[in-house]
């Protein structure tokens, strides 16, 4: 066995052999990575693609070709995923909507993580009355059903992209705060924190340089799950007419606009929904791996292992 070991490693470096050896989990991982990259690239470069004439403009209407089915080719035009009730190209609308959905998801997650981590960190580290106040505050927000609270605030403030993201962050920061606090409670008693204390590190240093990096893995995993949740909520709010509004495009709004044609134009319902589902699925299946990438303990383990295996590497 040992004699064939070395050439075998060489063989496995080729992509085809790697693919053959890959487990389903790996295939899902790379599939998700490719899908998300393609989606983000398409969303970012859409204005360019439209200007180059490689893609239909998401606003361009063609009332002669309303609700035409996928693959319709007429008068030199070709609509891969069909057209909507105003004759706009469905594929182009879906990519335009991706810009909003991804941006709302990202902004929501960033806001709720910043608020949640700060509050959870302070509550878990200091304890006492500060912890009681902060935790009761999370109870207050967690007891109001998220979507009802979001609808109520959007009723007061009005819809639009930034408001939707802020409102969704308002309903989700308590979850981040609770997870952070629970993690801080156990980290606070660990050896390396006590050692930093003994070495004379200040409280701010301990919180942000010792404890915070160890929170990254759980925060990143939570953040990816919260991203899909925010995206799904945005779709729901826009479907109800309180999120992204016409004439802008959003996957939820596209589904709402397709409702009257539910018995005649299946593609208007299938493709926007499929976009939401595939994006959520891709992000969900990436979350575990991404968490491992930012784990400082795992990383130092890997560093130690590679040092031990190849002493000449350093």
């Amino acid at each position: 066995m040992s004699t064939v070991g070395a050439p075998r490693i060489e063989v496995h470096r080729t992509i085809r052999a790697r693919l053959a050896r890959a487990r389903i989990g790996d295939l899902a991982f790379y599939g998700a990575l490719v899908f998300l990259t393609a989606l983000v690239l398409a969303a970012l470069t859409q204005p360019l693609l439209v200007a180059m004439g490689w893609m239909y403009s998401p606003e361009e209407q063609n009332l002669l070709l309303r609700n035409s089915s996928p693959g319709t080719a007429a008068d030199g035009s070709f609509h891969l995923l069909g057209t909507d009730y105003l004759g706009r190209d469905a594929l182009s609308r879906i990519i335009r909507a991706a810009q909003f959905s991804l941006a709302v998801g990202a902004l929501t997650v960033i806001c709720s993580i910043v608020i949640g981590v700060i509050i959870g960190l302070l509550a878990g580290y200091y304890g006492g009355w500060l912890e009681s106040v902060f935790m009761r505050l999370t109870d207050v927000f967690m007891s109001i059903p998220g979507l009802l609270l979001a609808l109520f605030v959007l009723y007061v403030l009005g819809g639009g992209f930034v408001n939707v993201a802020l409102v969704l962050a308002l309903t989700r920061w308590p979850v981040v705060a609770r997870v952070t606090r629970a993690a801080v409670l156990s980290l606070r008693e660990r050896q390396f924190v006590l050692a930093a204390h003994t070495a004379g590190a200040g409280q701010a240093r301990i919180m942000f340089r010792e404890i915070l990096p160890n929170l990254y893995p759980s925060i990143v995993v939570l953040g990816t799950l919260e991203f899909t949740r925010a995206m799904l909520s945005e779709a729901g709010l826009s479907f109800l007419g309180f999120g992204i509004r016409a004439p802008e495009a959003s996957w939820g709004l596209m589904l709402a606009q397709a409702r009257p044609y539910i018995d005649t134009a299946w593609w208007l319902i299938v493709f926007p929904g499929l976009s939401i589902m595939l994006t959520a699925l891709a992000v969900n299946s990436l979350s575990g791996r991404v968490g491992m990438l930012v784990d400082p303990q795992l990383r130092s383990q890997i560093r130690h292992q590679s040092k031990r295996k190849s002493p000449t590497a350093g």
């Binding site: 109870d139 207050v140 109001i144 979507l147 009723y155 729901g236 109800l240 589904l255 319902i269 299938v270």
Partner: protein, 306 residues
Amino acid sequence: MISVIVRRVLESLTVLLGIAILIFLIGEVVGDPARLMLPMDASQETYEAFRRERGFDRAIHVRFLEYLGGVVTLDFGDSLRSGVDAKSLVLRAFVPTLLLAFTTQLVALLIAVPVGTVAGMRPNSFANRLTSTLSIVSISVPTFWAGMITISVFAVSLRLLPTSGYGALHFFVLPTFALALGITGRLAEVVRASVQEQMTSQYVKTARAKGVPERRIVFGHVLRNAMGPVLTVSGDEFATLIGGATVIEVLFGWPGIGYLTVGAIEGRDLPVVQASVMMTATAIVGLNAIIDACYGRIDPRVRRRR
């Protein structure tokens, strides 16, 4: 024991007070209640007259105390549109929402617990990986999209079930399916992970060494110990359902809390919106207190720690 109950009740009351303050802040400090109730194109004179008539021009602390008194006596004022008091509108809407929440939760548990247990008992098996994969897929599906697809297949094309409405059992099928899909997936994964963790614990090894049959190990010991996380997640899901599966209720014309709230917002009916948010939040605070009590029943360690 009594002091524990008293402390829990005080805690719940604090949270309820916090919710009342939050709703007041959003509706009457961030927003202008008169503007929120009047039509968008109301004239300045109408606005002034309405403010005086409703007392919105008084000092903020006076209004807050009055509002708080209203919350305590469940008096949120009358609906602007129907003239009925907001409280009874919300109470009436609770019935369809609760019925849908119960059937959804029941269906989800009936599927998720057996599937998750079987998968958790066999780590590294095909069933185990399949459960995890299906779980991720099911939580990625937007509920209202699942609702639309099933409407177009079973109601529009096959004409087997009603497209929307509230009534006998067959009206429940499509909304329950749409709602239960994601919840079943999430619960099955929790059951699977929890059972799998329990199967590696010391007491299972001891029981096996004593020759206890596998079935008795699972049904007698593992399931009971694995139920803690399942209870937590079910409670969260149920709380969300009580808040009205808003989008599904609107899609299916289901006259519950979510449907009522969306209609009230569209009709600029602030008293009904405040009443529905406040009263569902109260129901959820109560539910959480009950769930906490349940922990003591299923896990003796929690009981002793108190």
